[in-house]
């Protein structure tokens, strides 16, 4: 049940492999793994973006991520989970966030991974400042919603 705030680029697929290999309790019990990876796009709201800086609130960010994971564990039957989030300077195509959830059954894995992502987007203290092609810098005002019905 790891939660990590990381400086510097990371490969989400390697991280999952490494985490899985180190998790002794998982083999044989896992039927479903649901993973979400958020990556930086080079376009946002019509502007070409060269890069961004991700600010966070050390201490509170980790605490909120852990709370979100705990909420997910209370609602669904999970075997393990891994949440990683990048901070600092980021380039297009870099992974920003990884949410991986291991469960016996797929309903729990799908529901929990999406819940964690939506909660993270609305409550984990991270802030994006984009560097545009024009040279301007601007703070992203608000995250878009993850459900059409929102």
């Amino acid at each position: 049940m790891a939660v990590m705030v990381v400086q510097g680029n990371f490969d989400p697929w390697q991280e999952i492999q490494a985490y899985q290999n180190a998790a002794d309790c998982l083999p044989g019990t896992v039927g479903a793994t649901s993973v979400f990876v958020g990556t930086m796009r080079d376009f946002n709201a019509g502007n070409a973006v060269k890069g961004m800086t991700l600010e966070y609130y050390p201490g509170m960010t980790e605490r909120q991520l852990e709370k979100i994971v705990a909420e997910a564990r209370r609602q669904w039957r999970l075997l393990d989970s891994l949440v990683m989030h990048r901070v600092g300077d980021i380039l297009p195509n870099d992974p920003i966030v990884l949410v991986a959830v291991w469960a016996a059954h797929r309903g729990d894995a799908f529901d929990a991974s999406r819940y964690i992502m939506e909660a993270l987007k609305s409550r984990a203290p991270f802030w994006k400042k984009e560097r545009l092609d024009s040279g301007d810098e601007c703070w992203v005002a608000e995250n878009t919603k993850g459900y059409k019905s929102d």
Binding site: Q64, L120, K121, W127, W139, V140, A141, N143
Partner: protein, 98 residues
């Protein structure tokens, strides 16, 4: 804002203690930090106050931005919740991670 004097100052072994516990740390993040031009304030705790009152003390004359979020000791709080001596209060804009 009422100053409840029985909350402060407090005494230990007859000595007037001005510990960290008796101050309030106020932190700002992201665009709010840039707009204010500073990342934190340290206030002297002068009795029960709401989070909203903390903002007014630290930023006199500046209205509280309407979409602001607040946390006390790293948990989200309502702007009308009360803070205590030693608390860390944070103000920041809507989060945009993930």
């Amino acid at each position: 804002m009422r100053h409840l004097s029985f909350n402060y100052p407090y005494f230990r072994n007859g000595v007037h203690v001005m510990s960290n516990k008796a101050s309030i740390k106020v932190r700002y993040f992201a665009s709010l930090k840039e707009n204010l031009g500073r990342s934190e304030d340290h206030l002297v705790y002068t009795g029960l106050m709401t989070v909203r009152e903390i903002w007014c003390s630290a930023n006199p004359g500046q209205p509280l931005p309407c979409n602001i979020l607040a946390a006390v000791n790293m948990d989200y709080v309502d702007l009308d919740s009360l803070i205590e001596a030693g608390d860390e209060v944070a103000f920041f804009p809507p989060v945009t991670g993930g």
